[in-house]
């Protein structure tokens, strides 16, 4: 593989990681207007559960992935029931949902993060998984990073296809565009709404599980990931599954090429610069509808 291809691949892989981080929030915020700023905390919970299973129970993290998804989904339903249902029921419009969910999610952030401190302590944690490298056309990449990238690609495309082509996916989109309209065609929004929220939490958990294979974890790891997620979904266009993937990949590429052409020190400057420029040119993100 040529040098440029390798650089691009490196950027794409990192971008895939960004996309995975953002997928869950894209469902919750992009589609449902629930500004779940505690997204990163649920990601952290997924990471810890996976680490726990791996180190205590010696369960293969990949095998454990569906379990994490299920556990977090149930947790998501519970959180929705306790915290967000009252908001969704009483709020007059999307702006109110957004503002009030932001505050509630702040509370959740405090609670979840500190429960993690109590349960797992503040220490950095991690385990070795798929750390061997894979050679692709002469270039080598960590297998665990490739796995995350593969998941990002597959999950984004699956989500995109589901939202676009299946009736269920259309129902989800319909519910967000007009809840009343959705109810009047017989969609049970009282079931679907929490389910989508739960799916968002589950995706956050899965992202955390995948990240725990690559990066070290700690209870305070969530906030930077929430920020990354917010940037990726706004860059891509809120609610767009394709935009989420494209936004993540674009950031990854900008970083890789930026690092090469300028200096790694400018990496953050470049990614924020690109983010701001894109939004100035396209105020509703790359894939605005």
């Amino acid at each position: 593989m040529g040098f440029w291809l390798e650089l691009a691949a490196s950027g794409l892989i990192t971008g895939g990681i960004y996309a995975v981080v953002a997928m869950g929030l894209n469902l919750q915020y992009g589609l449902m207007r629930i500004m779940n700023i505690s997204h990163g905390e649920f990601l952290m919970v997924g990471a810890y559960l996976t680490w726990w299973a791996q180190t205590i129970l010696q369960v293969n993290p990949l095998v454990f992935l569906p379990v994490v998804a299920l556990m977090l989904f149930v947790l998501g339903l519970l959180v929705y029931r306790l915290c967000f249902r009252p908001i969704a029921r009483t709020a007059a419009n999307a702006e109110v949902v957004e503002a009030r969910s932001l505050l509630v999610a702040f509370g959740l952030m405090f609670i979840v993060q500190n429960l993690a401190y109590l349960v797992w302590g503040a220490d950095l944690r991690g385990y070795t998984f798929l750390s061997d490298s894979v050679e692709i056309g002469g270039a080598r990449f960590g297998a665990n990073r490739l796995l995350v990238f593969g998941f990002a690609l597959a999950a984004s495309l699956a989500l995109l296809a589901a939202l676009k082509f299946t009736l269920f996916g259309k129902a989800v989109r319909a519910m967000m565009q007009s809840p009343t309209g959705a109810q009047l065609v017989g969609i049970d929004t009282a079931v679907l709404h929490p389910a989508v929220f739960g799916a968002g939490i589950a995706l956050a958990g899965v992202a955390g599980a995948l990240l725990s294979m690559v990066y070290e974890i700690s209870p305070s790891m969530g906030e930077p990931y929430t920020v990354t997620a917010l940037i990726v979904i706004t860059l891509g266009g809120l609610g767009s599954a394709g935009g989420c993937l494209a936004g993540g990949l674009l950031l990854g590429l900008v970083e890789a090429f930026g690092m090469h052409f300028t200096s790694p020190s400018l990496k953050m400057l470049l990614s924020y610069g690109v983010f701001i420029l894109v939004l100035l040119a396209r105020p509703r993100g790359l894939f605005a509808r």
Binding site: L115, T234, M268, I276
Partner: protein
């Protein structure tokens, strides 16, 4: 006549109570011990931040996360001008620098709405942080500045008090002015406000810059407490988040709401932190959620609701 406020003016009793409060705050350095003074300082800092945030964002519904950026810019002005400027001057210049920054970026970004605006303003803070890191490293070979001789605690306190009071006073004045009416109109329906003759662009830029002034001045004033100033410390996004949190919990459409919330929130956090060292954030989070669910209008709805009740009765 047409210049009279569009909101109720404070009664005489309120004014008297306020005057007493201000007097009490002003003598605090000679009454309180260092810790209580510093607690009061934290309350004042968040009061100034939250009230000035609400002045723009509460009125216009433009959720800005740029507070951390303004605060950091102010702090950096203190850091850079530390040797050549007196403290009050650097506080004022810190405010001006943040204000100028807000005006310049405001021209570019104030056409964005909702989440896009919020995330972009957050991104701006990060952009400035990394830009300062880069430039500072390039020209001085290191990052961060050490402030060796800092003003007395009482001086810092009184300065922050003045800035916070100025923020409240300006916010009250703005609300009863045409400018404030224009901001409120933009929040309610921007296009409608424009079709009624408001130059919405100019008003937004002005409001954004004015609110940035106080965040910048507070950053400049607080920086001296930390001896060492580097970008990660002063561009702490949490300062911005907490400001938004306080203003919204208080009721961002009011002045008194964020003011009361900043005091309640700071004192409550401190009390819980000291009493329940391992559980305080869980308690705080739970209280926050309960508050949002059972008092959706924010703390301010406690008294605005009462007033509405009086009107009905």
């Amino acid at each position: 006549m047409t210049m009279s406020g569009f909101r109720e003016r404070p009664s005489r009793v309120t004014i008297a109570a306020l005057a007493t409060g201000v007097l009490a705050l002003a003598v605090a350095p000679w009454v309180l011990n260092e810790f209580l003074l510093s607690l009061a300082l934290t309350c004042l800092m968040y009061a100034g931040l939250a009230v000035s945030w609400a002045m723009f964002s509460g009125a216009t519904n433009y959720l800005s996360l740029a507070t951390a950026a303004f605060f950091g810019i102010g702090a950096y002005v203190t850091a850079l001008g530390y040797e050549s400027l007196t403290y009050p001057v650097s506080v004022f210049l810190g405010g001006l620098a943040a204000s100028a920054f807000a005006a310049i970026v405001g021209v570019a970004i104030l056409h964005l709405r909702g989440a896009y605006f919020a995330v972009l303003t957050f991104g701006l803070g990060e952009l400035v942080r990394h830009a300062i890191t880069f430039v500072e490293k390039k020209y001085s070979g290191t990052v961060g500045r050490v402030l060796t001789e800092t003003p007395e605690a009482a001086t810092v306190y009184l300065t922050v008090l003045v800035v916070a009071l100025a923020a409240v006073a300006v916010c009250v004045a703005v609300r009863s002015s045409r400018f404030g009416l224009a901001l409120a109109g933009i929040g309610a329906d921007e296009q409608r406000a424009q079709t009624l003759g408001v130059n919405t662009r100019l008003v937004k830029i002005g409001g954004f810059a004015l609110s940035a002034f106080f965040a910048g001045a507070l950053g400049a004033a607080m920086a001296v407490r930390w001896t060492y100033i580097d970008p990660p410390a002063v561009f702490n996004p949490f300062i911005g988040f907490q400001t938004v949190l306080i203003a919204m919990v208080g009721g961002a459409q009011t002045v008194a709401g964020p003011l009361v919330a900043s005091i309640v929130f700071s004192l409550l956090t401190e009390l819980l932190r000291l009493q329940f060292p391992y559980l305080f954030l869980i308690i705080l989070g739970t209280l926050l959620i309960l508050l949002v669910l059972y008092l959706p209008g924010g703390i301010a709805s406690l008294w605005t609701r009462k007033r509405a009740g009086k009107r009905d009765g």
